[in-house]
């Protein structure tokens, strides 16, 4: 085996160790260690991506001496490597962009724990992306849950504590259902490795035995992971948690953590049950319906908000709806759209949250729109980033978000008529609503203040914040320019993603 092939496993295991070391270092040193390790993981993931693109195929990495049904294994293809690269890059930029806030918002002697949580979160995201084993997925889902709750909680205030509690309760409900699903599936198939389960599931499905348990198991997985990834009827915890956390936490939670669970769900659908079972069980219809509702009602929620961070959080609810709508189209094009949306949202939403953090700095720490009026003038770099992010969210061509809407429309046009009409209507209405709250927000941010408040305030740029914003803007534009290449890579990755 080549050394490059070991990189995914190295990123998973040593991110854990990096977290352990961060817990005993002082804040500044933990920051240096965590950021340098994140850079290393980014470079490693990038080289894995280049390797998989060149070799044009997936490979299986055995985690130990024994082959798969006995030992653990991870599976690396183009799609996984692409996700890992994007996630580690966005994680690095989010932490850099919110670095000042981390040191302001956390208690001084607990800052190092923030970097511990970031490292462990990164490790669990890598593991969720690469794993090929259902129980490994459960263990790392739990690390993900606790670490992300801790990221919300580390900004110590009454509101974040309450938000964390509600987030934790919903996550626990989700984990419970997910675990029950795994256990029941183990009971009827006797396997934990995804490919072996898929084989048994095909037999079971052909024989017609266990048809009710199979339906319930699919339901348990879908509901459990939908609760964790804040699909529409279960989204009530999200605005509180993402709205009250520190800037880097909001960015990471909205951009990456939600997607980690969705990737697990995609794996379960694709590798275990296969699209045909999912379609015949009508699960995809439900997913599409809730995704459809989320696209519209999430945007309506955002429209009602006067608090910038909560508005962005509601917008995440709508964007998660896009992913689920893509999943629910039960076609290859829909899946491509879902994966492109995962990537596009991951590079866009963290930028918006980091910019919002910058605006709060120049507005006395307030985050309601009235105080933020003119913040874009006081912090031009953040203003530019927010504008780019808003355009991307609305779906203007040459920005990242456009490709999502484009692929989703392509997927919709291939679907059967009622679904096509619904999907097209949802895309149209949701785009309109996005424009209705993002454009006024941009105008408010750049309008002149009449009352002379914050008159002399100017943003003092630190290299990390300035660098992260510029990198985010370039990343978004790059995504927009090379979107066709990314869509191709995603389609190639999806082709080798299934069993």
């Amino acid at each position: 085996m080549e050394l490059v092939q070991s990189f995914p496993f190295i990123t998973i295991v040593f991110s854990l160790t990096c977290g352990v070391f961060c817990a005993v270092l002082r804040g500044n040193r933990a920051r240096t260690l965590c950021l340098s390790w994140l850079t290393v993981t980014f470079l490693m993931s990038l080289s894995v991506l280049l390797y998989t693109l060149k070799s044009d195929g997936y490979y299986i990495y055995r985690m130990g001496k024994w082959n798969a049904p006995w030992g653990n294994e991870i599976r690396v293809g183009v799609l996984e490597a692409l996700m890992a690269t994007a996630f580690s890059g966005v994680m690095l930029l989010s932490v850099l962009g919110g670095l000042n806030h981390i040191f302001e918002d956390c208690e001084a002697e607990k800052t190092n724990l923030y970097f511990t949580m970031i490292s462990l979160l990164m490790s669990s995201l890598f593991a969720l992306i690469y794993t090929n084993d259902l129980f490994t997925a459960y263990v790392f889902v739990e690390i993900n849950t606790i670490a992300s709750c801790a990221l919300v909680m580390l900004k110590s205030s009454g509101k974040t504590l309450v938000a964390t509690t509600r987030y934790l309760i919903m996550s626990l409900l989700g984990s419970g259902l997910f675990l029950l699903g795994i256990v029941m599936l183990y009971g009827i198939t006797g396997e934990l490795l995804m490919e072996s389960i898929a084989e048994k599931v095909r037999e079971i499905f052909a024989s017609g035995e266990y048809s009710l348990p199979l339906t319930v198991i699919i339901g348990l997985f879908s509901v459990g992971l939908a609760v964790k990834s804040a699909l529409f009827p279960f989204h009530s915890w999200l605005p509180d948690a993402h709205g009250s956390a520190t800037a880097a936490s909001s960015a990471v939670l909205s951009g990456l953590v939600l997607k980690g669970y969705i990737i697990v769900l995609i794996k379960i659908f694709y590798r275990i049950f296969g699209l045909s079972v999912i379609v015949s069980e009508r699960v995809s219809n439900f997913l599409f319906l809730f995704g459809f509702l989320a696209m519209i009602l999430g945007s309506v929620g955002a429209l009602r908000e006067r608090d910038l961070k909560r508005m962005l959080a509601y917008s995440s609810v709508a964007q998660v709806g896009y992913i689920y709508a893509g999943l629910g189209m039960h076609s290859q094009a829909g899946m491509v759209a879902a994966c492109v949306q995962i990537l596009a949202h991951a590079v866009t939403k963290p930028m918006l949250f980091i910019a919002a953090g910058g605006f709060m700095d120049v507005s006395g720490g307030n985050k309601d729109m009235a105080s933020l009026t003119g913040a874009g003038r006081r912090d031009p770099l953040g203003g530019a980033a927010f504008t780019v992010g808003a355009m991307s969210m609305i779906g203007i061509p040459s920005f990242a978000g456009f490709m999502t809407k484009f692929t989703l429309t392509q997927g919709a046009l291939q679907a059967h008529t009622p679904l096509m009409i619904m999907a097209l209507a949802a895309i149209a209405v949701s785009t309109l609503l996005n424009a209705l709250y993002y454009i006024p927000a941009v105008f408010t941010l750049f309008s002149r203040r009449d009352d002379g408040k914050y008159a002399g305030v100017r943003a003092r740029y630190t290299p990390s914040y300035a660098g992260a914003t510029v990198a985010f803007i370039l990343l978004n534009l790059g995504f927009g320019v090379f979107s066709q290449a990314i869509v191709d890579a995603v389609s190639r990755g999806l082709a080798m993603f299934g069993a």
Binding site: M1, S6, G19, W70, F135, V139, I146
Partner: protein, 321 residues
């Protein structure tokens, strides 16, 4: 007073889910008016004569609304519970029979874990071989779940030592009465602890070291040692435990254990994945030195678990180690 608390409750009910706080404009109900005041008398008569329905509704709302909501909530809870249970029970009735030897779970995966345990992992405890060697990656994650929880609890409950006069609670007014009844020098407890603490340590070590050949292993043995540490601080006070196990010791042991574990596992996985020989002597199955890497892994996990258990107790009890 009652009216007031109702309003609070109703507002909470209405507010729930929306973040704006708008004053709820209820009609003033007749009880709150001072009817003896001649200035107000006309008002009650107006209310009684002109708006009887509205006043009655308001009154009903005051006294019954919250109760009705509470009852509905309970009914909904019972309904959800029963629906879920009946759905799951109907699933259970379709599942393979309990205890059957031909269940789907009894397959070649399980057979190899048992039949090849001695040959491939050097353990006679098939469960230890399975969790630490065959599926060692899962267990590495599991040890870090415990670690991340300990870090989160530290972040939540740790109080700076200079402010730690009254335990975790900085405000002495919040100090509950139960602290006064702490058995500071309870004779029975101390005598029992003197006997039990060494026993717990020795038994914990025994369970850890014999994890490869008998039931037990790092997690259960570590929990025993942790229980010994907790008992020691309950009986003799934290100072006695702090003499040999303080903040620095905790961080040292924990970091060392987890790093050693991760390095061993990384070595094992890297060698295994590349098909190299890992040069680990498996030992004599059934002896203490057996199982190859499983023994050091068990020791590392055991001490990590012991640290975490004690850390949880100390943080909840006094806000620091």
């Amino acid at each position: 007073m009652k009216n007031n608390s109702f309003r609070e409750k109703l507002r909470r009910f209405v507010d729930y889910g929306s973040f704006r706080e708008e004053e709820l404009k209820l009609p003033r109900s007749p009880e709150t008016l001072d009817t003896d005041n001649p200035e107000n008398r006309w008002l009650t008569t107006v209310q009684n004569s002109e708006k009887p329905v509205r006043a009655r509704l308001a009154k009903w709302f005051t006294h019954r609304g919250v109760q009705v909501f509470d009852n509905l909530y309970r009914v909904a809870a019972v309904f959800i519970c029963l629906t879920l249970i009946s759905l799951l029970l109907s699933v259970v009735s379709f599942l393979p029979r309990f205890g059957g030897a031909d269940n789907p779970a009894v397959n070649e995966v399980e057979e190899r874990y048992v039949s090849k345990a001695i040959e491939e992992t050097g353990t006679t405890n098939a469960v230890a071989g399975m969790i630490s060697a065959y599926r060692g990656f899962d267990t590495l994650g599991e040890a870090h779940v415990l670690f991340v929880a300990a870090c989160s609890v530290i972040a939540l409950l740790r109080v700076d030592p200079s402010e730690r006069k009254h335990g975790r609670l900085v405000d002495p007014e919040l100090l509950g009465e139960d602290m006064d009844y702490e058995p500071n020098s309870d004779l029975i407890l101390r005598k029992a602890a003197k006997l039990l603490v060494p026993l717990a340590f020795i038994f914990g070590l025994y369970v850890i070291l014999n994890g490869t050949s008998s039931p037990g292993g790092g997690f259960s043995g570590g929990a025993l040692i942790g229980a010994g540490l907790i008992l020691n601080s309950v009986a003799f006070g934290f100072q006695r435990t702090e003499r040999f196990f303080g903040d620095e010791m905790y961080h040292l042991v924990k970091t060392a254990c987890l790093t050693v574990y991760a390095l061993l596992m990384a070595y094992f996985i890297y060698m295994g994945a590349n098909g190299f020989d890992d040069h680990v002597w498996l030992g004599v199955p059934g002896n203490i030195i057996s199982g190859g890497l499983i023994l050091p892994i068990n020791v590392a996990v055991g001490f990590e678990v012991a640290c975490t258990m004690y850390c949880f107790y100390a943080l909840f009890r006094k806000g620091g180690l």
